[in-house]
């Protein structure tokens, strides 16, 4: 491994099964890559789940799994960006399973485009319930290109998938809006996307790729809300 090309920031969560599934999918996707591409996985954990992170840490095939302690839940993303070594960063949550071609497609895009002006996402998000019999399956096709007008709409509609990757420069140009998180506007991802759009950074998709979300548990932070809107707050009565 000559260097780190891609850092995957993975919120460890609280269930070993979910973490295992995510890592399984990552290893599968990494296995499809050409040799010589360096990938690190930062296992972002809080004090309660440090044992879980430690259990999975170490080298796994071509990937280096590194625990990263979460000091402040509201500062998770920024802390991760500062700690990651890769030129490109992706964010995942335990229970997120990337499709086998996701990393391959990402590397193809890296090779042919200037990624400093885009955030890249899978084309389809498939959510599933805890067990087979729930049949709680949901398939969301992501929009190929979100424009400025959709930025505001984004905050009103279903949250965009939290899986994305982008060049480090994008994260430096548009930092995660932690100040807003501290005002209780907790859906940092959604706000960050809106701010990216405002800064002219497009949201784009990797054609033919998918992300599967196993809803084994709530991602961090548990109680999210998008801005001060009540429209999408699941914890406010209709």
């Amino acid at each position: 491994m000559t260097g780190i090309d891609l850092s995957v920031v993975l919120a460890v969560g609280r269930e070993a099964a979910a973490l295992h599934a995510t890592l399984f999918a990552l290893r599968r996707a990494a296995g499809a890559l050409a040799p010589g591409i360096g990938i690190e996985v930062l296992l972002l954990h809080d004090p309660d789940t440090s044992d879980l992170a430690a259990r999975f840490a170490g080298d796994m095939d071509a990937m280096c799994l590194r625990p990263l302690a979460l000091i402040d839940p509201l500062d998770a993303q920024r802390h991760a960006v500062a700690s990651a070594r890769g030129r490109y960063l992706a964010f995942l949550t335990a229970g997120d399973l990337c499709s086998g071609n996701l990393l391959t497609e990402a590397m193809c895009v890296i090779g042919r485009e200037d990624l400093r002006h885009s955030v890249w996402r899978p084309e389809v998000i498939v959510s599933c319930g805890r067990n087979y019999f729930d049949l709680a399956l949901d398939t969301v096709l992501q929009e190929p290109m979100l424009n400025q007008a959709a930025g505001a709409g984004l905050l009103q509609s279903c949250p965009y998938a939290t899986c994305f990757f982008a060049h480090r420069a994008v994260y430096q140009r548009v930092p995660f809006p932690m100040a807003d998180a501290r005002r209780d506007w907790l859906d940092v991802d959604a706000w960050w996307i809106a701010n990216c759009l405002g800064a002219g950074i497009a949201q784009r998709i990797l054609a033919g790729t998918a992300l599967y979300r196993w809803n084994a548990e709530q991602p961090l932070p548990y109680a999210t809300r998008i801005g001060p809107s009540t429209l999408f707050n699941p914890y406010v009565m209709p």
């Binding site: 099964a17 599934a21 087979y132 709680a136 398939t139 509609s157 599967y212 801005g227 707050n233």
Partner: protein, 834 residues
């Protein structure tokens, strides 16, 4: 600022107990007594009368305990009444106690101790007993230990009397109960609260639930109640953003709701009850493993049983109606019909019991045996699952998804051993295709973008107004405030938004040189919710240094819901003017008291044009001294508006040989026009001329027009159009008021003023500056004042001069500028000022 500091310095109580009541004069006394005799004493007790027509009010007021607050409004229903208590509550903990229930003296002591000991708890509930109308104990109720999945999955969430909620952790919840529900709003409320935090049982009997004929629960066990339960279940799962592990409980909860509906209807409509039970099994053949034995469903009724019920139902209901019709038929027609019915066995004697086999009621529970651990869903896969047809897709989405299917199948094949729901069976693939949808970009988002595009990139000072107009007192106040802001701040940083639907679409982008946005210009058809969301987004995106709401309903709603968040970036100000009450003393809808109590602690300042209204608000909402310090009187200037010497705008009093009185105000129902009519009738030698606009309101002027000495010129453009020399007095009548600008303007014109002591009028009109009649002024008092003016013009002149001295001191342009500059944060930081 309220200089007298009358606002009480009161620490919020730890607990708020609310009792909604309606015609419970016979029982509420016992309820109140049980609350006031609590050993734990740090609580407030709000009794909210939902428009009782009996002596409830007298019973409540007879207690006279300072912790007890009695409020009354027109009948709105129990849920809305409880919500008012929720909105007004100041306590960290909150409890609702029906006006026929009782609590033991150590109720609060014990349950608060539990909540204090376990700060993670959201709700704590005790056991209770059931008493009859006479207070005799009938039954002990030992509740289960609820957790979220038990409450939702079993759809039986009934923490009972004496339940305590940790209100302080729910600042974003603006109502406790959904007023759409009449029979079980509490069930709906507990279901939603179960998403917010844990519940805990206190295994002590601390309360009594009264079962009696007047109890809604007993009297209305009917179809409406059953239907409502089904609606609650369905709508609960329609709540957006439910966690996935809650959504998975949907079919179990829906099945339980059907079973519960069956239980409710078993006596009154056994056929329908059986159908509900069938439906329950159809939705979910199995119940969750942790459903307690006493909540297990009855056996599924088979077709034979249904048929039997159908026949009985026909006999019991339909035939009874047919018989009454048949009795009116001729005998020759009736007899063959009867014989046919007998042959079919439809007219056999009706059995005494119409109920299906034993169906013991689920609640109440008489056991506190620990329940099995939740969350082990042991159900078999529905047989029909694999037969689900794929749903049609849009062309483009279909093509995209079809192109992805090979990859999906490949991934699912790899994942199936570790994530069972992703097994690539035909059922799963069909579901994936059937459920596909695209990320929505709702039109609201586009409207938001368009609204934001209309605005300047920087907003230092934002005014929220209901509309832009030059007519009316508050509009005059606003216009003068805008002029002051143009003088005192950088004009480029000021912006006016009219978010309410009352502002018509005009296409205007500026108002008097200031950036202006009317949301009706974006889309006039938007409802209030959409308008509030757009304003919300504007406040977030632009984060103005100062936001000042003057009578805008949408602005008030935004403050009420989100003031805490906005206050992080913006200094929030709101104007209040007057306290308008309806004829029976009930508050009028959507006045400041519907909003201010809920956001007062997050406002940087409350502005009013008189002390009286500010004192009243501070006292009514229990605002402490710190809130009192944030209340500021900003008087409306009427002289020196052009910037010159304000004394030049004052006219001396000129006694007129004619006996003519001026009446000038907005012509409206609350202006006590009846007094003017009777005054004119009493003083036929005096003429009364009435100037003013009635706007869109329809006002009955027939009584006035019947008086020969009353003329109603009506609307006028400016005071300059009215020949003041011809009048010797100004008569002002009203039943509700703040500080009328017209009164000040007329005083500047040199007329002696006669006005009632209502709202802030007494701050300007006194026996030294005019003639102040008591609040409920009589015709005789007005007539007496007019007689004094006629008899002693020198005294009238002296009083006019005294009034004008007040105008010079407090009601000039410079006085306004000084007032605004003295309000902390209103004009931004000093370097922002113009």
């Amino acid at each position: 600022m309220i200089s007298e500091g009358r606002a009480e310095r009161r620490k919020p109580p730890r607990v708020t107990v609310v009792t909604p009541t309606y015609n419970r004069a016979d029982l509420i006394g016992l309820t109140i007594q049980s609350v006031l005799s609590q050993t734990f004493r740090d609580f407030e007790y709000l009794i909210i009368d939902d428009g009782s027509s009996d002596t409830t009010e007298a019973v409540v007021l007879g207690f006279g305990d300072p912790r007890l607050v009695y409020l009354r409004h027109e009948n709105r229903g129990e849920a809305a009444t409880t919500n008012r208590g929720w909105a007004m509550a100041r306590g960290e903990y909150f409890a609702v106690l029906s006006s026929d229930d009782l609590v033991t003296p150590n109720w609060l002591e014990r349950i608060v101790a539990l909540m204090d000991e376990k700060p993670e708890l959201l709700v704590a509930y005790p056991d209770y007993d059931v008493i009859d109308g006479a207070g005799c104990r009938q039954q002990d109720i030992l509740l289960p230990d609820y957790d979220r999945d038990l409450m939702i999955g079993c759809f039986r969430t009934i923490p009972g009397v004496g339940t305590l909620i940790r209100r302080a952790t729910l600042p974003d919840m603006h109502r406790l109960r959904n007023p759409d529900y009449r029979h079980a709003p509490d069930l709906d409320s507990w279901l939603h609260l179960s998403l917010r935090g844990p519940f805990a049982r206190l295994p002590e009997r601390l309360a009594s639930w009264r079962s009696h004929a007047g109890s809604i629960t007993v009297a209305e066990r009917n179809r409406a109640r059953a239907d409502e339960l089904l609606r609650i279940a369905s709508r609960f799962f329609d709540t957006s953003g439910l966690p996935a592990d809650v959504i998975r409980l949907r079919r179990f909860a829906m099945a339980e709701a059907q079973a519960l509906a069956a239980w409710i209807l078993q006596d009154s409509n056994p056929l329908r009850a059986a159908l509900h039970l069938r439906q329950s099994y159809s939705i979910s053949p199995a119940q969750l493993s942790f459903v307690p034995a006493y909540w297990r469903r009855e056996e599924q009724p088979d077709n034979r049983f249904l048929l039997r019920l159908l026949v009985r139902s026909l006999r019991h209901r339909t035939l009874r109606r047919l018989r009454s019709v048949a009795m009116r038929l001729p005998a020759r027609v009736r007899r063959p019909l009867r014989r046919g019915a007998e042959q079919l066995g439809l007219v056999a004697p009706i059995p005494a019991s119409m109920t299906p086999p034993a169906a013991p009621p689920p609640p109440p529970v008489e056991s506190n045996a620990p329940l099995p651990a939740p969350l082990s869903v042991d159900v078999t896969p529905p047989a029909e699952a694999s037969a689900l047809p794929p749903a049609p897709l849009g062309d483009e989405a279909q093509q995209r998804l079809d192109a992805l299917l090979p990859q999906l199948r490949d991934d699912l094949s790899a994942f199936r051993h570790i994530v069972a729901p992703l097994s690539p069976t035909p059922t799963v693939l069909n579901h994936l295709r059937a459920g596909v949808h695209r990320l929505a970009t709702p039109s609201l988002g586009l409207l938001m973008s368009r609204a934001i595009d209309h605005l300047p990139s920087r907003i230092d000072h934002l005014l929220l107004l209901p509309w832009i107009s030059g007519v009316g007192g508050s509009e005059t106040v606003t216009a003068r405030l805008i002029e002051a802001l143009r003088r005192l701040r950088d004009e480029a940083g000021i912006c006016i938004i009219a978010p309410d639907g009352s502002q018509p679409a005009t296409g205007a982008r500026h108002h008097n040189g200031i950036a202006f946005l009317g949301l009706s210009d974006i889309d006039a058809s938007m409802d209030d919710g959409a308008r509030q969301e757009i304003l919300d987004r504007i406040l977030i995106q632009r984060r103005p240094g100062t936001v000042h709401c003057i009578n805008s309903r949408i602005g008030w709603l935004a403050f009420r819901d989100r003031a805490r968040q906005y206050a992080a970036d913006s200094a929030l100000f709101a104007n209040i003017y007057s306290d308008i009450r309806l004829g029976d003393g009930a508050p009028a809808a959507l006045y400041y008291y519907d909003f201010l109590p809920h956001c007062i602690e997050h406002l940087a300042g409350v502005l009013g044009d008189n002390f009286t209204i500010l004192r009243k608000a501070a006292a009514a909402f229990g605002a402490g001294a710190s809130a009192g310090e944030r209340m500021h009187v900003v008087r409306t200037p009427v002289i020196g508006l052009g910037g010159g010497d304000p004394a030049r705008d004052l006219r001396l009093f000129q006694p007129s040989a004619e006996r003519r009185s001026l009446w000038l105000s907005r012509i409206a129902a609350e202006k006590r026009l009846d007094i003017v009519a009777r005054l004119a009738e009493r003083l036929p030698a005096r003429r009364f001329e009435m100037f003013g606009d009635s706007g869109m309101a329809s006002v009955d002027l027939s009584e006035l027009r019947a008086q020969p000495n009353v003329t109603i010129p009506g609307a006028f453009r400016s005071l300059g159009d009215i020949a003041m020399d011809g009048f010797d007095s100004y008569v002002f009548t009203t039943s509700g008021e703040g500080m009328p600008v017209a009164l000040l303007e007329v005083a500047a014109c040199g007329l002696p003023v006669i006005a009632p002591d209502i709202g802030g009028i007494g701050e300007f009109v006194t026996d030294d500056t005019g003639w102040l009649v008591p609040t409920a002024g009589t015709v005789a008092q007005y007539a007496d004042a007019l007689a004094q003016i006629e008899a002693a013009p020198e005294e009238a002149r002296r009083r006019v001069q005294a009034a004008q001295a007040l105008l010079l001191r407090d009601y000039s342009r410079d006085a306004l500028d000084r007032s605004l500059a003295s309000i902390p944060g209103y004009l931004g930081r000093s370097d922002d000022r113009h």
